[in-house]
């Protein structure tokens, strides 16, 4: 044990480092969860490999290693004059790739780079990590093509690759080149389309950068879709006005087949509850659509607006027809809700009821919480009292036993 300050600091630092070395790097930095939303589903073989790699002691870097590596990276990148800061996560991925048996990756321009000397014919394991390989060009396409020194150190030099390739058969090489070209084209096209639709993960302006933005974009899209749907719905409702049944809750009435039969029976119902039409044909049955009050009100208003835009004569005609269809529906026992005033009242009432129940629920939660707290406090107090009684000196009177010495009757 030395007394100097430096030694002491060093020893503390060692202790921390020791602890740090025990933490796996991925838990310390937690880089994965940051990009989790952007991750593609791994293939089965890929997942298997990752799982196996997890148990390899030489593979997993400790937090300490990672810290030191990042420090050196920072120093190097600062020293590099106009090099951009390379994403450390990307480097890590690259490290993993170089360690594992990846045989091919793409460079910045989408060109293939062969790492091992495998013949391209044995293409079974060619797309080893398709998800990652696909991601590469997209990520790097917009990045600065200049490679930092640190990266170039780890990455096998791209100049070495063509030499190895040239040793393979010429025919196979031609095929490989053709495949490469196609692949490149495909990759380019995919990136281009991704950028055009501002897909997450691209650097296109307006593309979601994080999870919140992604969710917001998704919600916006859904909203647009819903609005569009509502509009078409309302429009189709408006179109029905000219036909016979309009102002009641919508009734689907298919065309009545002409029939000379003039005998009509009472209402006849099938087992499923559907009524037969006047011709006793099942396809003529009427299906009542029930809307909630708010929807009904909206439909009614859109109809009203549509009618008001029509010429005067048409308006009266529609109103006349509506009266009769309403009467017919009512005689059938349908509830016709075409009174705007009443509907508005209903909507308001429903809203009030909902609000009230919400408040009541909140109150309930409060009382429950309060109850729990009070019970806890009481318990604590009891425990404290008991403890105190136990440890306090002096004998206490024995409590009277119920039923022997007598218990006070409650009044």
């Amino acid at each position: 044990m030395s007394d100097s300050l430096k030694d002491r600091l060093n020893s503390h630092s060692d202790a921390f480092k020791g602890l740090l070395s025990l933490i796996p790097a991925k838990y310390y930095y937690d880089d994965e969860s940051k990009s989790q939303w952007n991750r593609k589903k791994a293939t089965k073989s890929d997942a298997h490999r990752v799982k196996q790699a997890k148990f390899d002691p030489s593979q997993g870097s400790s937090a300490l290693d990672e810290v030191t590596r990042r420090e050196t990276d920072a120093v190097v990148s600062k020293s590099g004059a106009d090099s951009i800061e390379v994403d450390s996560f990307e480097q890590e991925v690259l490290d993993e790739e170089s360690d594992s048996d990846i045989s091919v990756i793409f460079d910045d321009h989408g060109n293939e780079i062969r790492l091992s000397g495998d013949a391209p014919d044995s293409s079974d394991d060619l797309p080893v990590q398709p998800a990652k390989v696909q991601e590469k060009p997209a990520k790097k396409a917009s990045a600065n093509p200049k490679v930092t020194q640190a990266e170039s150190k780890r990455q096998p030099s791209s100049e070495a690759q063509p030499e190895k390739k040239s040793s393979a058969k010429p025919a196979a090489k031609r095929d490989a080149q053709g495949i490469e070209e196609l692949r490149k084209k495909l990759a380019d096209k995919i990136t281009e389309m991704k950028i055009r639709r501002k897909a997450p993960g691209t650097n296109a302006p307006g593309a979601p950068k994080n999870r919140e933005e992604l969710l917001a974009a998704r919600k916006q899209r859904q909203d647009i879709k819903k609005r569009k749907w509502d509009e078409t719905d309302a429009a189709s409702d408006g179109e029905n006005i000219d036909e016979n049944h309009s102002l009641a809750e919508d009734v689907d009435t298919p065309e009545r087949a002409s029939n000379e039969e003039t005998i009509i029976f009472g209402q006849i119902k099938l087992g499923d509850g559907n009524k037969l039409g006047l011709n006793l044909s099942a396809d003529e049955q009427k299906v009542l659509k029930r809307r909630n009050a708010a929807d009904q009100l909206r439909v009614l208003e859109s109809r009203k607006a549509k009618i008001s835009s029509l010429p005067e004569a048409k308006q009266t005609e529609i109103a006349n027809k509506a009266q009769w269809s309403r009467a017919i529906l009512q005689s059938e026992g349908a509830k016709v809700r075409d009174n705007e005033k009443l509907l508005k009242k209903t909507v308001k009432q429903q809203q009030r009821r909902k609000l009230k129940s919400e408040l009541q629920w909140k109150d309930r939660l409060d009382t429950v919480a309060k109850g729990i707290a009070s019970r806890e406090a009481k318990r604590n107090a009891n425990l404290a009292a008991r403890k105190e009684a136990k440890f306090s000196k002096g004998k206490k009177k024995k409590p009277k036993r119920a039923g022997f010495e007598g218990k006070k009757r409650r009044k």
Partner: protein, 398 residues
């Protein structure tokens, strides 16, 4: 929280009960105050026809108005009103109204015959007993199945929906025992209503056998066989020859080709029980005996006239609404005055008792004050309007 227990086995909520149309057949108007015997009988017969989902023994009082019946219709699940009325000149009308918001179809009852009269004309009248436990089957003749006009559609729908729906899979054949026939005269457009009982008769058996089988079924007593020597005497008796030829609706197949059981077949026969009604459509209204007139057989309105009428109605409704509001306001004021007065009185009494305690006032004084305060307070509900108004005016001025 524990879930509340619900009894599901013994307390089954019957679904679909609301679908069954229920009705009240009521005398209204002059007919209610001074009903003729004939109309009362017609109402009775009509109720019998509409059984079992009708108020068969409904007692209208003179003071009862349509509103009273309507109030009860909701809780009782009554969906239709059949309102008979008669003017002092003898014109009878029938209104078929759907509760609670209409529409109402007004019919003029051109002719009617009571069940009693119909039975008198028959040699073998049929008395309805068990048949009334099931609703009649509606058969409408000469009504177009296509939608030719709104009026036709409405009337068809009105008749179709006033009787319960027949569920093909559930309805028992034995439950169909009556028929309500609604026939439309193609030329005049009048509507005839007839009411029949469905009767089945054995066909293809000799009269003697029929009598025996009827006795076995308990429909009639055994024939007197005491004077006969053997069964052949009964069977060969010429007095038992089959005279009711009209009963045989179905052809009897030749003997020997079928078994005896197949040979005895049943014929379905309709026996009219009444009442008979001949109706013509008079008017269709939007609401329950109120609202816009959608159709009138005799009157027409130009668009201008209709608009004028509508305006008039709107004004009337507005006035009515205004009066209602004013009345509510008056009642509120009255109540307020009542409470404030009583409170004032209490306060006064309290103060006096306190004062007497502190000052030791004599009993005489207390009695005096009590007698003073007495006539001042009067329950406003006991006052007549004039007094109340005077009171209110006095209060406002002070």
């Amino acid at each position: 929280m524990a879930k509340r227990r619900h009894k599901r086995r013994t307390h089954v909520v019957e679904t679909g009960v609301e679908d069954v149309p229920k009705s009240m057949v009521v005398k209204m108007g002059d007919a209610k105050r001074h009903p003729t015997k004939a109309l009362s009988a017609l109402v009775r017969d009509f109720r019998a026809m509409m059984q079992p989902h009708t108020a068969a023994r409904l007692k209208e009082r003179k003071a009862n108005r349509l509103k009273d019946f309507l109030v009860m219709a909701g809780p009782l699940g009554v969906s239709h009103f059949f309102l008979f009325s008669q003017t002092h000149t003898g014109n009878t009308t029938l209104r078929i109204a759907r509760t609670p918001r209409g529409p109402t179809v007004y019919f003029k009852v051109k002719q009617y015959s009571l069940a009693r009269d119909i039975q008198k004309t028959q040699t073998h009248p049929h008395a309805l007993t068990r048949e009334l436990q099931n609703p009649p089957v509606l058969v409408m003749n000469n009504f177009s199945t296509e939608k030719t006009s709104d009026l036709d559609a409405l009337i068809t729908s009105t008749f179709q929906n006033m009787l319960p729906t027949i569920d093909i899979q559930k309805t028992k054949l034995s439950s169909i025992q009556r028929v309500m026939l609604v026939n439309r005269d193609a030329e005049t457009g009048d509507i005839d209503i007839r009411h029949y009982a469905l009767v089945t008769r054995t066909v293809g058996a000799s009269r003697a056998i029929k009598k025996l089988s009827a006795a076995k079924m308990g429909h009639r007593d055994l024939p007197d066989l005491s004077r006969l020597g053997e069964a052949a005497d009964y069977m060969m008796d010429p007095g038992q020859s089959d005279s009711e030829g009209e009963d045989e609706v179905l052809d009897t197949p030749a003997a020997g080709t079928v078994t005896e059981q197949q040979r005895i077949r049943k014929a379905v026969k309709l026996v009219e029980v009444g009442p008979r009604l001949r109706l013509s459509v008079l008017k269709v209204e939007d609401g329950l005996c109120q609202g816009k007139t959608l159709f009138h057989a005799h009157e027409t309105r130009t668009a201008k006239q209709a608009a004028k009428l509508e305006d008039k109605h709107r004004q009337r409704d507005a006035l009515r609404e205004q009066r209602r509001k004013q009345q509510e306001e008056n009642v509120r004021k009255k109540r307020e005055a009542q409470t404030s007065r009583s409170q004032r009185g209490k306060l006064k009494a309290k103060m006096q008792t306190e004062g007497s305690d502190s000052e030791g006032a004599s009993d005489e004084e207390m009695a005096d004050s009590a007698s003073d305060s007495e006539p001042e307070y009067q329950d406003p509900s006991e006052m007549n309007d004039y007094e109340l108004e005077a009171e209110l005016a006095a209060e406002e001025s002070s």
